[in-house]
Amino acid sequence: MTPSLALNLALALLLLGMAGWAVLVRSTQAAVIGFMVFGLLLTLAWARLDGLDVALTEAAIGGGLTGFLLLGAAVRLRSVEHRATLQAPGLATRILAALAAGSVTLLLAFAVLTLPSPAPSLAPAVAENIAMTQVGNPVTAVLLAFRALDTLLETLVLVLAMLGIWSLADDRVWGGRPGFAIAHDASGILHYAARILVPIGVVIGGYIFWIGADDPGGKFQGATLLAAMWLLLVLAGLRDAPRVSSQALRLWVVLGPLVFISVGLLGSWLAGSFLGYPQGYAKLMIVTVELALLPSLTLILGLLIMGAPKREIGR
């Protein structure tokens, strides 16, 4: 067995073990922590599969932000955990569920083992056309040039999810601040960590954003890191969560999508198709879109974690 295969095999076994723990363990909090470890292991798997851009996204969003979101909810729901487990299904249901899940796995495994060879690939098409986009990272070229429409719709999905969460607020607190705040403690370790970590995190976030044009990185990974730094500031009590009725906040949130749509419309005027880039100006337009998206994505990702408004305006 080669060292590379041994490493992959160990990684796959660890992934299955952690996923099994996250699904089967009794305590919800233990399950969520298992899921966060699973996310980190998955990041290594992405590195083994030569998907460094995906690895960064998985580390930041898949494991990091999702884990944080679930952990917060698990703590808040601790009081009803016992009641929820009373409804556990009987043995027959479990066996049926295991049979269903097992057959799905078998079907997928069969599909994996019978994938066509040689594998179909769009890599040659990307290699042929990447020069037109003037960016060096093929994943960024796909995200912002070849499949820019997907990325536009994705940012709209983020805005919609945020609006959905805001609309879950009670009528009395509509427009107020999310209930995401911790008592201010100027001598606490969190306060200290926030003051030390946030400047470093902001620099790293900006760097990951900027190198995305030519190396693994980009706006989603950078924005996630910036959002995490913002959440840390709020958690440490250094800044309060924003009022969701704030005009400035709403303006920054829609800035990215608006610029993206405007650049798309400009494309249909100058290059003959929506989101088309005129010859020689691709990099300029891509950087414009990315710069406008960065603050919007940072705010939206942070607000998705903070949840629905809980406190009245003025409090």
Binding site: D53, R83, A97
Partner: protein, 116 residues
Amino acid sequence: MNTATLFGLCASMLIGLGLYGLLTHPHPLRKILALNVIGSGIFLLFGAIAFRGAAAGMNADPVPQALLITGIVVAFSASALAVALLLRLFEVTGDVSLANEDPAAHKDTSKDRPHD
């Protein structure tokens, strides 16, 4: 066994594990977590397929990789909305049960009298 096949098979098992959790867990938060395990499995499967598409000097096909980044972000926003809905349910009803009847009451009645 090559890297793509190994992680492809691993992904198939992850999807099965997540599906089992989704079907059997009564706690909605555990269902959201299980859905995320299924999602990670699907992403990994897609990533293994992207790895097979290495060509033209690239180590993997960049098109599925870009779609994966989109997918991970969309999955996160769906989870965030689901968690917010769940917390709102808890706030309004004081419980997170998805059942039509109260589990505690059901347990008591089943103890008191036999089923019809």
